[in-house]
Amino acid sequence: MHMMYFTEQPMAAYDSQAGLDYGATALTFSNKHFDPNEGSRLYNEYLEEYVLAEECGVDGIMLNEHHNAPFCMQARTNMFAAILAAATKRVKIVILGNPLPLTENPVQLAEELAMIDMISKGRLVSGFVRGGGQEQLANGVNPAYNRERFMEAHDLVQKTWTVPGPFRWEGTHYQQRVVNPWAIPMQKPYPRVWIPGVLSKETIIWTAQQRYPYIALNTSIEATKAIRETYNQAARDVGYEAGSENFGYLIRVHVQDTEEKALQNARQFMWMQGEFTGLANPVWANPAGYFSPSGRRAFVEFSVGRTTNPRGRMTFEEQVASTMIIAGTPDQVIERLKYLVQHTRPGIMAVWANDGCVSKEDRRRCIQLLCGEVMPAVKAYATSLGLKDPWEANAPVHLRYSTDIPTAKVAAE
C-alpha cells in the first residue's frame, strides 16, 4: 500500500470572526483578511513539515490547490511540487490534482509537469481534477464547459507526453498549432495519473475507462463501496478486473501522544464550520452547467434553502463515530485505520492529518507519530490482506498499455 501525507495548507492566521460576520469564507470573502507575513511563515512551515514527513518514512506527499479562500493556501500545485522535487529525495510527489479546465494552455501544463518529473528524478504522480465550482468562478473559467475542457485537456496532455512533436491540435476548446515542448517526462510511458473525486459518477466511469486509480475523498464507507461498484463495472465493460491498485482513499486522521489532545486538535477539521471548502453560497460550488443534470432538481431546491445539503452535514462526533475522522493515540488510530482498510480495501491511502489552527509543535508531533508508527503498521496490515499499490501491482499507467487486454495492446501499438 502507498501511504501519503496531506494537508490543505490552511491559512489559519486569519480572523475567523470576520468570515462568520460576512457569512462566507470563500470566493468573495475579501483577501484584505490575508496577512502575507503570516502567509510567509506558514508556507515555510508547511514545506518543512513535508520534508519531516519524508524523514519519518512516508511514501508520498499529496498536494492540491484552491483559490480565493483561507482553507487552502496553495494557488498553484505545481509550485510546491517543483519545490519538493528539489527539497526531497525519496517520496513520491502526488499532485491531486491539477484542475485541467482552468488552464488555457494544456501544453505548458504538460511541460511544467515534465520538468517536475525530471527534477524529482521520476517521482511525480500527476493527478488531474475538474476543479470545484468556486475554482472556475475565481479564475473566470466557464463552468458549463468544465467536463468538456477536462477531457480535451487530458487528451492533449497525454498526447504531448507520448507522441513526438511537432504536431497540431485543433480541438473544440484548445487549439495549438505547434505542439513540440522540449521538456517531456522522465517516467515512461508517462507519469502515473490518479483521479480524486467525491461523488460525480461520470468521473468515476471515465477514470475506470482510462484504468487510472480513483481516489475517494473522505467518502463514507457505504459511499466508497458504491464508488467501487461503479468503477468495477466500468472496468469490466472495457475488459479488465479492477483491484486494490485502482482505488485510493483519503481520510482525516490526527495522532497525538494522548487521546485527549488528538481529539482536541482533530476538532480543527471542522474549522471551516464543517465545510471542506468554507462557507459558501451553493451556486458558487455548483455553478449552472457544472454539475450533472441528473442532480439539477435536488440542487436548485437545496441552493435556495428549501432542503438540506444532499451531501449531508455531520457533526464532529458523528464523523468520529462513523470513521470519517479518526483521532487518538497511535494504537487507537492503527486500530481504526485497520477497520477502514478492511472495509474499503484501497491500495493507496492519503492521510489528511493537520488542518485549521493546530500548533506547529503539534503538527510536527502528529507527522512523527503518523509516518513513523501508524503508517508502517497499516501498510503491514494491508500487505497481509494482499492490498497492492499501482507499483506493487505493476499496473499499466493507462488502459492502452494493458498487457491483459488483447485489444488495448493493439491500440497502443
Partner: protein, 257 residues
Amino acid sequence: MSLNWTETTHDIAGLKLHMARAGQGSPVLVLHHDTGTPDRLPFYDSLAANYDVLIPHHPGWGKSQRPEWMRSPRDIAALYAWLLADLGLSAVSLIGLGFGGWIAGEMASQAPTAYRKLVVVAPMGIKPPEGDIADQAIVSYIDYPRSGFHTQDAFQAIYGDVSTDQLEAWDIAREMSFRTAWKPYMCNQTLPHLLGGVRAPALVIWGDDDRIVPISAAEAWAAALPHAKTETIAACGHFAEMEKPAETAALCTAFIA
C-alpha cells in the same frame, strides 16, 4: 378582445424551436430575457392587441431544444433570421428585452435594412461605460431576478413563491447564458462598431432603477444606433415589461405604429 395564443414548434438548424404567437397586423418578434419568460404576460397581450406577435423561446431555454454547438447570441440572431425566413415574414419589428435586446441588436447589425423598427429594453450586449452588468453566477437563482425589479411586490406578482419548476428553468437558463455569454460577460466588444449601419428607427427603453444592466449603457446604445431615441421609465427595474407592463407596452406600441 380575446386573444388566441397558439404554440408551435419549428425545425431550425436541426433543433426544435418553440414559439407562441397571437394577434394580427404588422409582425413583431419579441426576444426574451436571459432568465427565460413566463408563457403569458400582460405586456404580451397588450402588444398582441395591435400586432402579430411572435415570442420564441431561445434555443436551449424553456421549451426550445438545446444546441450543444451554440456559442454566442450572434448565433441565436442568425437562427431567428432563419425562423423569419421560414415563416415568410418581412418588415418585422424587433422588441428585445435585456439579453433579448442584445440578440435584436445582433440581428439588426447583420441585416441593416431587414427590420422595420427596433426596440431594445435595457439590453445587454454593449459594455456599459459606467458600472458592470450584474454577475448572476455569484447570486442565487431567486436573488438574480429579484434584483431586476424596483419593488418586490412586482416580483411577487409574477413569480409568487417561486416553484421548483421555475428554479430548474432558471438554472437551465443560467447554464445557457454561460454557454453563450460567459466571456466577455454579457457583451460583444464588436457590436457597438456594427450597429451604425442599421436603417430601422430605434427606441432604447430603460428603467431608472436597473440593477442588472447599468443605465449608462443607454447612452452607448443611442450613440451606436444612427436613428435612436431613448425613453426612461420611472420606478422601474431591469424587467420593465413585467414591472411596468402598461408603460412599456404603450411606448412600444406607439413607436412601432
